[in-house]
């Protein structure tokens, strides 16, 4: 059962990592507009550096 001594902390750290990633995503506005982000990829971006020219 000694394996628990380091397996549990590893599992917890991995979980905590997930939490940190979620918090970062929330803070940087990843969840603000899921619908818009899904469609925005289909838009031709004309403002920043037009690649076709």
């Amino acid at each position: 059962m000694d394996v628990l001594a380091y397996m549990i902390p590893i599992a917890l750290v991995m979980g905590l990592l997930w939490l940190v990633i979620f918090m970062w995503a929330l803070r940087s506005g990843q969840f603000d507009d899921p619908e818009g982000a899904a469609s925005r990829i289909l838009q031709d971006d004309e403002r920043e550096g037009d690649l076709h020219k």
Binding site: L4, A11, L26, E35, G36
Partner: protein, 718 residues
């Protein structure tokens, strides 16, 4: 009607940052897909120094520009001409921040619950033989390590609310939640320190997680509700021109207007105070009275704040200061109604009122019972009491109602309705009387020319050419049927009509009866235009505002279950005609805004529950006084702000749809309460008797929550 109004002034909502950039956020109505959103962005971003971003999910536009504050109005006018309606969002940002904080709390408690399950599973499925005491203690310590910070962080919304309530001598649902969470954590920690067999850490985290989800959904629904009265005040802000005794003109803020001053309103300008006209002119009164037609005023006639001068410049002697003006009265009424509205107690709060003491008393009885009658030691007795607190988890209250509301809100949204007040659905269920405004609500609000009998093509062409030269609503209605180029040399006489002089020297006129020298106009009270050539008998054109195509059917269906009343600011004859056409027995014409409010007030005082549907400024006070109110999205901002529900679909089909959804939602909410009650009736006695282990408590609590949420999810379908 609204065409005569100048571009909406949003400057009061603009926040200017230290770096000189202006920020404004608006809700965009009429946006159906991401394509619309990108069209708006593209249009606005084409301007230098402007940054626009549309949030498709929330249907919000954030606009950032530098320089002149008022430049935003021109930009937004562009968006409005594209066919979208805008309403500004107050720049507080605190509600948004509150929502994000709740989301963070959910994440933390979700993380805790998930990880605690790992330990709990191990603990639940191993007996005394398969797991040593040392391993069990290690598991408990890990659980404590995860749970205690979680409780401190994610439990804060509940602790704060409970503390706030207690400090004001009240109690709410958060009090038993806080007590349960704190006690359960403390007892579990005590058990862990003394290396006992059971701890409740998982239940604590799970309880917080589930309740926070409910709290989040509830907060999101409530966020949409906005204060109505303060928006009405915006209408009356701005500056007005004053003519001093010396004859000089100067601009003063509307607040500084006092009786006795001489106000000058240019063409297209809004009149900002009640007073007496000093010269003749034309005003658009639609905002105040709901009348569709501009009104001609003579010197000595009263004009009201909120009217728009659409004719020659008008001089007005101010009789009343702004707070005594009619619009000031409307504002006062709305503020009072808003405070009155707060007196409505939501079903969840009503239940919480008896839930709180009952749970506390049950827990106390359990504790005392075990300690004195059952002969248990202090610690197991306390444990049993905590189990009672946990198992009576108010998930039905905290989760079922918000979930049902979010589901109903989503359903309505797909049907083109925006639910602005979180508790509107509860109030709707009681409605027994439906009051409709006429213009713009029952009717389309647009004038349509009645087909004239026998008219030759030459006359038709002449009328069309004259009409095309005017912007008057009736002339536009003519142009809509008979399109034409404007007649060359046509002169518009404000408030009377249009005239041209023909080659043979005779005049040719289109306008009011007086303008055409007609003295015996038929007494049918219809809106009319006369056309004539000097020396020939004049010709009469009539106009009507038609009811929506589905109005008669909807009214007939509604009348089976509800009392339907028509309250119109328009002339009695017009109101009577519409009422007869739609089969409404009870109608009142020429009702001014204050009387509208008072009539609704009288109905409510008589114990009735009134749904008011209206769209004008003249309805605003009545809308906020009614039990529940609806407004079409074509309505003035003030009416939309005052209404609980805003609907986009043309016609009246939204009214029965809303009533039906409200009834279904309330049925589901009641089922949820019944389920929760049944669960508690079984679980609480068991918990009090001490039969419930931590495993059963945690599992049954989660199961009951899932059941209740699953039931609420049924609203989504069908």
């Amino acid at each position: 009607m609204t065409n005569a109004l100048p571009a909406t002034d949003y400057s009061a909502y603009v926040r200017t940052n230290a770096d000189g950039t202006n920020h404004l956020r608006l809700i965009v109505a009429g946006m159906h897909c991401a394509g619309c959103a990108f069209k708006i962005e593209k249009k606005l971003n084409a301007y230098p120094g402007v940054e626009a971003r549309v949030n498709v999910t929330e249907k919000r536009l954030s606009l950032v520009w530098s320089g002149d504050k008022a430049a935003g109005n021109t930009l937004l006018d562009e968006v409005e001409t594209m066919g979208f309606q805008l309403s500004p969002v107050k720049q507080s940002g605190t509600e948004d921040e509150g929502l994000k904080h709740l989301l963070r709390c959910i994440a933390v408690s979700g993380f805790a619950s998930g990880n605690l399950m790992v330990f709990s599973m191990a603990l639940w499925f191993s007996g005394r033989d398969s797991m040593g005491a040392a391993t069990r203690d290690l598991m408990h310590w890990y659980s404590a390590l995860i749970t205690l910070p979680t409780v401190i962080y994610a439990g804060m919304p509940f602790f704060k609310s409970a503390w706030h309530a207690l400090r004001h001598g009240r109690t709410n649902m958060d009090v038993p939640i806080s007590v349960a969470v704190t006690l359960a954590s403390a007892v579990s920690l005590y058990e862990t320190v003394h290396s006992s067999e059971h701890a409740y850490f998982d239940s604590v985290a799970m309880l917080l997680f589930l309740l926070l989800i409910g709290r989040y959904l509830d907060a999101r629904v409530r966020l949409q509700a906005k204060s109505a009265a303060s928006d009405l005040l915006q209408v009356m802000q701005g500056t007005a021109s004053i003519i001093e005794d010396s004859g000089h003109m100067r601009r003063v803020p509307s607040k500084a207007l006092i009786p006795g001053m001489r106000l000058h309103a240019a063409k297209g300008e809004k009149i900002l105070a009640d007073g007496t006209a000093l010269n003749a002119g034309d005003v658009d009164t639609s905002a105040i009275t709901g009348e569709t037609m501009p009104r001609h005023v003579c010197a000595g006639d009263a004009v009201l704040a909120g009217m728009v001068n659409i004719g020659t410049p008008l001089d007005i002697r101010i009789d009343k200061s702004q707070q005594d003006s009619l619009i000031g009265d409307i504002i006062a009424l709305m503020q009072r109604a808003e405070q009155g509205g707060a007196a409505y107690v939501r079903i969840a709060d009503r239940i919480a009122r008896w839930y709180t003491p009952v749970v506390h008393i049950l827990a106390l009885i359990t504790f005392m019972g075990w300690l004195w009658i059952g002969g248990a030691a202090f610690q197991p007795a306390l444990m049993c009491a905590v189990t009672v607190l946990i198992i009576t988890c108010p998930c039905a209250l905290g989760l079922a109602v918000p979930v049902a509301q979010v589901m109903a809100g989503g359903r309505l949204f797909r049907g083109g309705m925006l639910l602005k007040s979180a508790d509107a659905l509860e109030r709707l269920e009681k409605v027994d009387t439906i009051v409709f405004d006429k213009t713009g609500t029952l009717t389309t609000g647009q004038m349509v020319m009645d087909p004239p009998d026998h008219i030759d093509d030459e006359t038709k062409a002449q009328i069309a050419a004259l009409a095309a030269a005017s912007a008057h609503p009736l002339a536009r209605a003519v142009t809509a049927v008979w399109p034409s180029k404007p007649a060359a040399g046509a002169a518009e006489m404000d408030g009377r009509g249009i005239e041209i002089t023909r080659e043979d020297g005779h005049w040719c006129r289109l306008g009011s009866a007086a303008f055409l020298l007609v003295t015996d106009s038929p007494p049918d009270d219809k809106l009319e235009l006369w056309f004539g050539v000097q020396g020939l008998p004049p010709l009469r054109l009539t106009f009507s505002d038609h009811p929506h195509a589905d109005a008669a059917r909807v009214i007939r269906d509604l009348r089976r279950e509800y009392r339907v009343v028509l309250l119109s600011g328009d002339r009695p004859a017009v109101a009577a005609a519409v009422a007869a056409q739609l089969g409404i027995d009870e109608w009142y014409g020429a009702v001014d805004p204050l009387r509208k409010h008072d009539m609704i007030d009288a109905e409510i005082s008589a114990g009735r529950h009134v749904l008011m549907v209206g769209d004008g400024l003249n309805d605003a006070a009545a809308l906020s006084r009614a039990t529940v109110s609806m407004s079409p999205s074509s309505a003035l901002d003030i009416a939309q702000n005052a209404a609980d529900v805003v609907y986009q679909r043309k016609g009246l089909s939204s009214v029965p749809a809303l009533l039906q959804t409200a009834r279904r939602t309330q049925a589901i909410v009641r089922q949820s309460f019944a389920l929760a009650l049944a669960y508690n009736v079984i679980a609480v006695p068991l918990a009090m008797a001490g039969f419930v282990t931590p495993l059963v408590a945690a599992v049954s609590m989660s199961l009951s929550s899932l059941l209740v949420v699953g039931n609420a999810l049924r609203l989504k379908g069908g």
